[in-house]
């Protein structure tokens, strides 16, 4: 796979944190490529660096050394303001605990990223209704998170993640807080996004059933990839 076909390119990345006088190395010379349209699962024991890697790919943190590219953007060299601007359109983040704003309805939660874009209210409305229809929540527009089930809240979270049509969807244990049935629905939805909208998805998970939905599973241990398999062709 050439670099030009890759959506995500992580090159020689190191990430360390200072804990008092101690320096903790979390990621150690990590290199990873994710082709366009691939659904990649990241697995590993606690403390292996999965979430750290996810945060680097999502532009929420910067590596100590190395580069992170998402499409044509070298996000590891952007400043905070540039990263914020890139995140609006470049990435959709799905959280384990949904993290919807409790004072806003489903509609208003999905609208949040669109408020940063130069769109008219009519254009925003059209996009919001489209994505909520896609996730099957057209009849829950005006419900607040407290009035939705866990699965429904996660679907609102996914709608919020895709409403700006980002290049990449990053999901941090999206089924971690759900029962089996709801988890199944969410994984089906993510698969649907990959197939119909050709979204590239990077998902951190502890759940083997979730990992089984991915085209490829990458294992991390002590900050390094363990036997990165060759990427398979996108289904």
């Amino acid at each position: 796979m050439s670099d030009t076909e890759a959506c995500v390119r992580v090159r020689g990345v190191h990430k360390s944190f200072r804990r008092g006088s101690e320096v903790v190395e979390v990621l150690n010379d990590l290199t990873l490529s994710v082709p366009e349209g691939e659904f990649v699962g990241l697995m590993g024991p606690s403390g292996s660096g999965k979430t750290t890697l996810l945060n680097l790919i999502a532009g929420l943190d910067r590596p100590t050394e190395g580069e992170v590219w998402v499409r044509d953007h070298c996000i590891s060299s952007m400043n905070e303001s540039q990263l914020a601007g890139w995140r609006t359109r470049g990435i959709g983040f799905v959280f384990q605990f949904y993290h919807l704003l409790p004072v806003l309805t489903a509609y208003r939660n999905v609208e949040l990223p669109l408020l940063l874009l130069p769109l008219s209210p009519a254009q925003r409305r059209e996009q919001i209704l489209n994505v909520l229809d896609l996730v099957g929540l057209s009849d829950r527009l005006h419900h607040r998170p407290g009035q939705l089930s866990g699965g429904q809240q996660q679907r609102v979270g996914i709608a919020r993640a895709i409403v700006t049509d980002p290049d990449l969807i990053v999901a941090d244990e999206p089924t971690g807080d759900l029962d089996a049935k709801s988890a199944e629905e969410i994984l089906n939805l993510l698969g649907e996004l990959q197939r119909t909208l050709q979204k590239t998805i990077v998902m951190v998970t502890h759940d083997p059933r979730a990992a089984a939905r991915a085209d490829r599973v990458v294992h991390l241990e002590k900050g390094q990839l363990v036997d990165e398999p060759t990427p398979v062709a996108v289904k």
């Binding site: 929420l60 914020a84 890139w86 605990f97 993290h99 990223p113 408020l115 941090d172």
Partner: protein, 419 residues
């Protein structure tokens, strides 16, 4: 506009906290508004004017000022005594004598409900020279002109303020006898011919100067020609209105160099200087209000708001991190938190100060807070924007710290704890 919608949504996420913060703001803005109104009025009264100055002639070496009545006519003209000296027009001059007493002849029974204090003056001076009465408008002016006309027709007439009338249990049309304590033996019967317009002169009264003078002459006749003890002391103040500072200085020179006014000697100063001198006794109180009370309240208000916003920011750290993930920039997070606080501050401050203005000025008839001879204060019209400024300013001061903390929320640190 988009961010403002988010601000409004967040204001009502915890209605109780917003309401309590708002109420605290309102109470403190009310107190500061009252303090500022009093200080503003005193400042205006003690600020030198450049035109239409009012000057006061008083006895130089004694308080209270007591000058002979013989000084009255000359001083009212500006004390001219040399060729070329200027004369002050009658409508620009006013003489005052103070007559005080009780409606009860028994000194042991004197109380707020029996005491009456009157300015003895020319009736026309009420509408030509008295502060607050010389600029009446419309119906109020018409009504008071009629009251003054009645005083001109009735030598024994008395105009009384509403509050004083209520205290002594009288009404317009009644007679009242006053047993004087500063003009002993000169007890006068009055016909109450009218009231002062509501406001500054509520606790006061006005009588004709010639009634007092002729009563003193009558006393002298009844006492074998002996002059009354107050005979050489019945003129307390002379007011002169002068066009500008050069004219003031000229008249001052006329008066101070006139040998007729040397025993007792007199002084001539602007009204604002005279008031400032009188307020010397209240200097510490005024200083305390201006530099201790008001700043303490403003500081406390900032702390209250800071506390409320800090709690809100701490509760919403995860939300701010999510907003950053969605692409919201640090300045937008800062804007959200600051705007929430400032909106509450400005609205609460405006409602409080505006409400205080309406309540004090239009329902309570002024603020009863005796400082020197100022009995009643009113809330300045500027209170409407003071309230907004105080509320908004203290909200900004109190919320800048928590807002900065919200702005600098590190997303990676927040989510490192969750997975």
């Amino acid at each position: 506009m988009n961010l403002l919608r988010l601000v409004l949504d967040n204001l009502f996420r915890n209605p109780l906290r917003t309401i309590f913060t708002s109420l605290a703001t309102m109470v403190m803005v009310l107190v500061v508004t009252v303090v500022f109104s009093i200080l503003s009025f005193l400042s205006t009264a003690t600020t030198e004017k450049a035109q239409n100055l009012k000057g006061i002639v008083t006895e130089r070496w004694q308080i209270p000022s007591q000058m002979p009545w013989a000084y009255a006519n000359g001083l009212a003209e500006g004390g001219p005594h040399r060729p070329g000296d200027q004369r002050v027009d009658p409508q620009d001059a006013m003489t005052w004598s103070f007559y005080g007493g009780s409606t009860d002849p028994d000194p042991k029974k004197r109380s707020i409900n029996t005491i009456l204090f009157a300015f003895a003056l020319e009736p026309r001076d009420l509408t030509e020279m008295m502060d607050g009465l010389d600029d009446l408008q419309g119906e109020q002016k018409k009504q008071f002109d009629e009251v003054v006309a009645k005083l001109e027709q009735t030598k024994t007439g008395l105009i009384v303020g509403k509050e004083r009338l209520a205290n002594i249990g009288k009404k317009v049309g009644d007679k009242v006898k006053v047993y004087s304590f500063n003009y002993r033996g000169i007890d006068l019967e009055f016909d109450i011919v009218g009231e002062f317009p509501e406001g500054r002169y509520d606790p006061s009264a006005a009588m004709r100067a010639d009634y007092l003078q002729s009563a003193m002459d009558a006393w002298s006749r009844e006492n074998a020609g002996k002059p009354h003890a107050m005979a050489g002391k019945s003129l307390n103040l002379v007011w002169l209105r002068l066009k500008d500072r050069p004219r003031f200085d000229q008249v001052a020179d006329q008066i101070l160099t006139n040998p007729s006014y040397s025993s007792p000697a007199v002084k001539f100063e602007t009204a604002s200087s005279g008031i400032a001198t009188f307020l010397e006794a209240y200097r510490d109180l005024i200083w305390g209000m201006q530099w201790l009370l008001a700043p303490a309240i403003l500081f406390t208000l900032s702390l209250v708001i800071s506390n409320s916003i800090s709690i809100s920011v701490r509760e919403r750290r995860m939300e701010f991190a999510v907003l950053k993930v969605l692409g919201y920039r640090p300045w937008q997070i800062l804007f959200l938190v600051l705007t929430e606080a400032i909106l509450v501050g400005v609205l609460s401050g405006t409602v409080s100060a505006g409400g205080t203005y309406l309540m004090v000025n239009h329902m309570l008839g002024g603020l009863k807070f005796p400082i020197a001879f100022f009995g009643t204060f009113y809330i300045a019209a500027a209170a409407w924007w003071w309230g907004a400024a105080i509320g908004g300013g203290t909200a900004l001061a109190g919320s800048i710290g928590p807002a900065w903390a919200a702005r600098t929320v590190r997303v990676a640190d927040i989510f490192a704890k969750t997975a």
